[in-house]
């Protein structure tokens, strides 16, 4: 648990800044502060929440709201499936029901990148500190737009990305296949997001498309004997 809490500190910092922006954005759409905080505490997802409050603000249908969440967040199903192969015996059904709530991009990646299968205590540690950062940042952002000076807020933005780099690059150095597969994914994503014409694709969908395609190429070209 302690190790999970410590490893989760970069996620905490990153979430603080991202959810701070979310808080500001959501309140600016005329949602009451309590509903913005409640959204963060019950959803724990960035892109989904942002799309969600935008739809709530324009009184969109409940079906459209559910479908949007499904499309944006379907990547979590893939992550849950992947992490289900990398947990130890302490992860019983009850713990899985609770831990599943914490399945975000960042928490999943941190857990999956652990050398040994993760225990429920480790995932609770990472999950709790991350969720705390997410809730705290949202609250601060929703309550007062200008608590942090703009320069500090911007400087916190790269925290999450830097952490991703710190997870991917050491493995890419050790294993040539990871280098090519991760590079392919990032390259594809740059093309899909920046090339004129296909830019209209929703960001969440573009991401999952590129990641799945690159992982398929990897599994085909560099099958792993022991995983």
């Amino acid at each position: 648990m302690k190790r999970g809490l410590r490893d989760g500190i970069p996620i905490f910092l990153g979430y603080l800044s991202v959810s701070f922006s979310f808080g500001i954005a959501a309140v600016s759409k005329a949602l009451p502060v309590w509903s913005v905080i409640l959204t963060s505490l019950t959803n724990l997802t960035s892109a989904g929440q942002l799309a969600g409050v935008s739809l709530i603000a324009v009184f969109a249908g409940i079906g459209e709201l559910a479908l949007t969440q499904l499309i944006i967040n379907i990547r979590y199903a893939l992550m849950s499936l992947s992490l289900s192969q990398h947990v130890d015996a302490s992860m019983t059904t009850g713990h899985r029901l609770l831990c599943a709530f914490f399945m975000t991009d960042e928490i999943f990646a941190l857990c999956r990148a652990q050398e040994k299968p993760v225990s429920n205590r480790y995932m609770y540690g990472v999950g709790l500190i991350s969720a705390f950062g997410w809730g705290l940042g949202t609250t601060l952002g929703a309550l007062a737009g200008g608590i942090l000076p703009e320069t500090v807020r911007i400087a916190l933005n790269p925290a999450l990305y830097a952490m991703f780099i710190a997870i991917v690059l050491p493995q890419a150095k050790k294993e040539r296949a990871v280098f090519w597969v991760a590079g392919l994914s990032a390259g594809l994503h740059c093309v899909v997001r920046l090339a004129p014409g296909i830019r209209a694709l929703s960001p969440g969908f573009a991401l999952i498309l590129c990641a799945v395609a690159a992982a398929c190429v990897g599994a085909w070209l560099f099958p792993k004997k022991e995983v």
Partner: protein
């Protein structure tokens, strides 16, 4: 926006998101034997993370050059095998300094 309206919408969002996360995690208990699927699941976190970094990190700061500085600092420290928190904080500090310096010229 009434309270019941907000509560019902937030509940729907939370439920859909939770089910997506929970179902595969709880239902898939046995080891998957298929080598392609196992390899795919092994590569997925790296491809997701790599695609999250690029191109988005380049636009996360106030100008692309401070983002490039942060990216470079993070990459070098990561390759040196530094801890996650070290890499994250140094990248943030370097972006902060880069923005200050760039600010002098604008």
């Amino acid at each position: 926006m009434s309270v019941p309206y907000l509560l019902s919408r937030i509940a729907v969002m939370a439920l859909v998101t939770y089910l997506i996360r929970m179902l595969p995690f709880v239902l898939v208990r046995r080891k998957i034997e298929n080598q392609f699927v196992r390899s795919f699941l092994y590569y997925i976190p790296y491809t997701v993370l790599a695609a999250m970094v690029l191109p988005d990190m380049l636009f996360a700061t106030s100008c692309i050059w401070s983002a490039v500085v942060g990216l470079a600092v993070a990459a070098v420290l990561a390759l040196l095998g530094k801890k996650l928190i070290t890499v994250a904080l140094c990248a943030c500090a370097s972006v902060y300094i880069a923005e200050l310096i760039l600010g002098l010229f604008s």
